[in-house]
């Protein structure tokens, strides 16, 4: 398989598009947790019940389309090899939790991979919808329509006072987690993001790394999401998140201007050195790769580097994860073998754009 084909297959179509403020916001996501009223929730359900839930989805939704989201396909965890599951996690299409939850776990994925509805994760249903750039309102609107579409056939567990009921009390109410993935290199370089995080937390929002809860921040990519799901409408939660993200965008832009003004040459040096590492190294750990990719992306945004698309950061952050590297190599690899493959994959990818 050529690297072009591999990348084309590896990167979700929606991820290749640019959206509003996509110099800083990589993607916006809405996730809704829902459960069937008539079945025990997955954390206590018997295998038979879970199988019934799965079969319902296979029967009702496999091959279906809903508006822009064509040809949903049920992907069963039981049918997948460990590397294939890992790849879906790295593409953010499923959660790590789903992969080891039950043999009746699955995901209903739209053809363009913008929508992934996980089945028998912690809850029966977890609707996930992605948009490129900063498009939280649109994501919420579309997620609600998907929710309505499912509700035509599913009777949700819902309580007039509490709202949607979920396995974990932190999701009760709206069942919604809205999040944006942001690239904040200037706020990270100047240590400002560390000072901002406590204030963001006080607003009921959380700052995390690229692979969600418990994951470390790599490549200066931060996920900002709501902590609170109860006592506020979906619209209000999204509005609060929206306003904080808007401020972070402004702060990041200011910080970039200040850096350019005060130490433009140092910044250019840093960007080009990282570009040099990506183009030349033969062995690279994922952390260094993420750091260099972040610098490269910043260099593209600042105009130091032309002819390389902005989306290379999103793309290579995914492609250089262990699952993808092993899928590309078609074999399982030790960590040090992965460091070699990672370097070689990055070199090949950057060479495709070699018009400097």
């Amino acid at each position: 398989m050529s690297i072009e084909q591999f990348i084309n297959g590896a990167i979700s179509p929606w991820m290749k598009e640019e959206g509003p403020d996509s110099d800083i916001v990589m993607s916006s996501r809405i996730r809704l947790a829902r459960n069937f009223q008539k079945y025990p929730f997955p954390i206590i359900a018997s295998e038979e019940r879970m199988e019934e839930v799965l079969n319902f989805f296979k029967k009702e939704y496999n091959g279906q389309s809903f508006r822009d989201y064509k040809k949903f396909e049920v992907v069963e965890m039981n049918d997948l090899q460990p590397i294939e599951k890992r790849v879906l996690v790295e593409k953010h299409l499923i959660s790590p939790h789903l992969t080891d939850h039950s043999k009746y776990s699955a995901s209903l994925i739209s053809q363009n991979e913008q929508v992934s509805i996980m089945i028998n994760e912690e809850d029966h249903i977890r609707i996930q919808l992605y948009f490129p750039g900063f498009q939280l309102d649109r994501a919420l609107e579309q997620a609600s329509q998907l929710d309505d579409w499912l509700e035509e056939k599913v009777d949700y567990a819902f309580d007039e006072n509490r709202g949607y009921l979920t396995s974990c009390p932190t999701n009760v109410g709206t069942g919604m987690r809205a999040s944006v993935m942001m690239h904040l290199p200037a706020l990270a370089m100047t240590q400002q993001i560390n000072r901002m995080t406590p204030a963001i937390n006080q607003l009921g929002l959380v700052v995390r790394g690229i692979y969600g809860e418990g994951s470390e921040t790599v490549g200066n990519i931060f996920q900002i999401s709501n902590q609170i799901t109860l006592g506020k409408s979906e619209e209000d939660i999204v509005e609060d998140l929206h306003s904080v993200v808007r401020q972070l965008i402004d702060q990041e832009r200011k910080a970039r201007q200040v850096l350019m003004h005060r130490s433009g040459m140092q910044l250019e040096d840093r960007v080009f050195r990282s570009y040099g590492v990506l183009k030349h190294s033969r062995i690279i750990e994922s952390k260094e790769a993420a750091k260099c990719l972040s610098d490269l992306r910043l260099g593209i945004d600042l105009g130091f580097i032309e002819h390389i698309p902005q989306t290379i950061l999103n793309e290579l952050m995914v492609l250089t994860q262990p699952g993808f590297l092993q899928q590309y190599a078609k074999e399982s690899l030790s960590p040090s073998e992965r460091d070699i493959r990672r370097a070689s994959l990055i070199r090949e990818r950057v060479q495709l754009e070699n018009k400097e």
Copy 2:
């Protein structure tokens, strides 16, 4: 001035040639210290006497040729700007000592810059002769002929028992310093050179950095020379040095093979990362530049990098010195301005070979 023209003017013609074992030995040099019998030695001479010495050379040798060494030219220190003197030092054509010694100091330099006869340095005459690669015997033979040529007109201070008399007692006897400049990256990486140095010293030889006495080792370049000038013939001194250099060459080649065998991928990674830094950095200090140039040169020697001539190390080690950078910039530069110029000059130079 284009970078090609600048380099052509900056690099001595002999330096562009390859010689025997030039994968490891960059150059061989013979230096002979001589004095006039009839004048007090420069360290105690009056200005009038020094002027007489200088005038003698101007009258007798300016514009002359001797065998392969055409058109000697007297370059007087008094006529030079500080940057021009610095450039001659960086090209190893004169010593730092000559530049601030006397207003009657000069150097008689052959057109191809292979021979430089310093006048009124610590001694009246210091004949220096360079050959590319490992050619000590040939250098000694040619230096002796140059010595004889001068002796046709100069009555040397010579003592039957002590030999040639010199200002400093460490040069008495043969007045000869034979030295080779070696690139020993594998012996340096494996720390072997540090362990070998005491043994080399015990043989009456000295290991120094690229700019001689007191200079730090940069770019894994080591100068090996004789310490003792007395009690041995020129031929014996050169033979001893020759045999140690021969052993160092063998050890370096073995160390390279071992490194390739044990950690070839790490070595390749190191080489290409350094190549990436040279091709991309916007700010680079001379020490890092030397380290990266050493790695690049090793990569060329080991066949990792093709289409770049071996001589790029010798060339860029000289071109990126402060004097040359300022000559190229046509203005005096602060250290941080030099780091920027250095990076840009290296990038331009490497781009000339950009056929990777």
